[in-house]
């Protein structure tokens, strides 16, 4: 009898201790992103360690990979309902993932904890709900090679389109393989349409949309920007190979001193410095159309964040988002990423210590973030569908009106 009682007691103790242990098991959040490999080794993990220290019941498992792999991984996760709890997002993907029902409404998650969203610099919303918050932003100003500028007798970086054309013409020395501007239009990575083409429209306060629909035809802002680029293409001041050139090729051309000016992400400043420490370059705002005095739209790319609809730990996932968006963490992250913060109260260190970043911060504060592709359906495909007739237009195979009509027809089918 005693043995029997002792047996029951032991089983009860085992069960209770098991339950206690289970209760103490931390929740593990999976966080898929491409940020960790792009940051100095160990820095992003250190931020996650700080989060875990603040939230003892939550562990963060980083699922890191290059940008394109992360996208494929999220697409596959969205299809199979196995998306990581927290995901790094590009604004161009949001609409498609929301359409698939793969992302949770952050508006609901914020509402559940009465979060004060006034510190957030931006929220990407669809159908009245937020699905992505830009954690840090990389603006795309104009990089100018100061040595080439001085050699061409140009005193100041161009501020208007006509000054830009004049500078590009003076900088071009085809015999020595030097060109004024560089334009990547690869069909593989069509983001040149966003960063290097449509940015000229936004810099002059123009828009490619009207009432949520594509508005390319009979749009004076779009037409003038396209004619401006075509003029430079015909004048031979754009580096050759544009139709198969990718963003990394563009940066290589600038870094090696073969082009005088390029529109590029601030994220590449350190890369350019590492590759060519001798290169003297400056940063300036994208030139606007002559006579335009308003604020200039700045193309940008974000490291956005979202929460998976299939996550079983949405409340904990939101805690991680909240942690990354806090002024303190956001300052640290933007400092190590050389990006501008997603929290309006955060200030990155580099603004005080680096004159190039200080100049870029000045450009950032005077202008406004403009990227109309963010939140659009099949955004990458829209860029590719614009790229195709645009190449034909540049190559002389289409008139401006034909090109814009073709692009608009292709786009309209997706809305």
């Amino acid at each position: 009898m005693k043995k029997w009682l002792v047996g029951i007691l032991m089983i009860a103790i085992l069960l209770i201790s098991g339950n206690v242990m289970m209760a103490q098991d931390p929740i593990t959040l999976e966080f898929a992103q491409w940020w960790e490999p792009e940051l100095p080794a160990g820095e992003f993990r250190a931020l996650m360690d700080a989060f875990e220290a603040q939230n003892p019941g939550i562990k963060v498992e980083l699922v890191s990979g290059p940008y394109s792999t992360t996208k494929d991984q999220i697409v596959a996760g969205a299809a199979t309902g196995t998306m990581s709890d927290v995901v790094g997002l590009d604004g161009a993907w949001v609409s498609d993932f929301v359409k698939q029902g793969a992302l949770a409404s952050l508006t609901d998650l914020m509402g559940a904890v009465s979060y004060d969203a006034s510190e957030l610099a931006a929220q990407i919303q669809l159908n009245g709900a937020t699905y992505m918050i830009p954690v840090v932003n990389f603006i795309y100003p104009v990089f100018v090679n100061l040595d080439l500028l001085a050699a061409a007798g140009i005193e100041n970086p161009p501020a208007t389109r006509s000054e830009f054309v004049d500078a590009a013409t003076k900088l071009t020395d085809a015999a020595n393989n030097v060109y004024g501007w560089v334009l990547p239009l690869s069909m593989e990575q069509p983001n040149g349409i966003q960063n290097d083409v449509m940015s000229w429209v936004w810099a002059t306060g123009g828009s490619m949309m009207k009432d949520g629909m594509p508005n390319l035809v009979d749009n004076a802002d779009v037409s003038s920007a396209m004619e401006f680029i075509k003029g430079m293409y015909d004048a031979g001041v754009i580096a050759p190979g544009a139709f198969s050139m990718r963003e990394q090729d563009k940066v290589e051309e600038f870094t090696n001193g073969r082009v005088g000016m390029m529109v590029d992400s601030l994220a590449h400043i350190n890369l350019i410095r590492e590759r060519n420490p001798e290169l003297k370059f400056a940063i300036t705002a994208l030139p606007a159309a002559d006579g335009y005095e308003g604020p200039r739209g700045l193309p940008y790319a974000s490291w956005g964040i979202g929460v998976a609809e299939n996550s079983e730990h949405k409340a904990e996932a939101w805690k991680l988002v909240e942690f990354l968006m806090s002024a303190e963490t956001n300052s640290k992250l933007s400092s190590i990423a050389n990006a501008f913060p997603g929290n309006v109260k955060a200030t990155p260190d580099f603004v005080q210590t680096d004159e190039l970043f200080a100049a870029a911060f000045d450009v950032f504060q005077k202008g406004f973030l403009a990227n109309e592709f963010v939140g659009l359906p099949v955004a990458e495909n829209l860029m590719r569908e614009f790229d195709e007739p645009f190449q034909l237009y540049l190559d002389g195979g289409m008139e401006l009106s034909e090109f814009l009509s073709a692009a608009q027809d292709a786009w309209t089918g997706h809305f």
Binding site: Q100, N177, S186, E188, G241, F243
Partner: protein
Amino acid sequence: MAKISISNETQNLTWQRMKRQAVPFAYLSPTLLLLAVLSFIPIATVVYYSLMNNVIITKDPPSFVGLDNYVKILSDKNFFNALGNTLFFAIASVIAHFVLGLLFAMLLNSKVVGPVTKSLFRVIYILPWVFTASIIAVLWRLLLYPNGVVNYFMLGAGFSTEPIEWLSSRQLALPTVTFINIWSGYPFYMVSFLAGLQGISEDLYEAGKIDGASGIQLFRFITLPQLKPVIISLAMLDFIWTTHQFTLIWMTTGGGPVRATEMLSTFTYKLAFTSYEFSLASTTAMLILALSLFVGVFYVRNQRSANE
């Protein structure tokens, strides 16, 4: 009583016969299972997707649309542009692979060349085959870049007055990617032909020479007929592999400029991963499968007749 025992005996015999008949299937079951998992189920799934709408990544439930997706794809001029480019790319590659492969194999099989030189050239000729498609793409992008080595020599030698945009010109891009594919693929032919040439009996050539046949006649009436089974097999396999080439095209031109190098593979990829039109992508995949099957049937028939 006797009836019951006879009935039990019959049942036992039937059971034993069934067991005996099941034995071969039991031995085959691992292979059948693998075939089902790796081939039949994926193909059946893609067939299913091609007949449906709203598949894979959409909140809306899939709906049966019959052959609508096939009608949509077959009335899309971009599909036929991709088909035309793919056929040019594949046919030009197969012909050039055959000519170069046979030429180099005969050089390496020649008695005029010493064994050390042969070994050296074997290594040199086979090098392109060692690289993966992504390495080949990066390598040739760098070589053919407007500021690349090829243009440097072209300008230096006076063949051109300005950098040639090999991969950015609508006229040159398709021949250029075809050339890259030829460069990367001929060693496979060369190795296979070399093995075939080494298997041809010397007696045949000696008999031909005694009959007064010239070198060209020996090649035409002995070498080519002896290599015929290898030639047909290689050509068919190469045609199928080349029509599926994706990495090389994607990493050099992405299907551009405009759609000058758009292939069926890049067309399908774009439908699936940038438009998220998985039903239409499955439909083009089925059409590519039909094209491959068409060639595959000839391959199997050829193999069967060779075995007989």
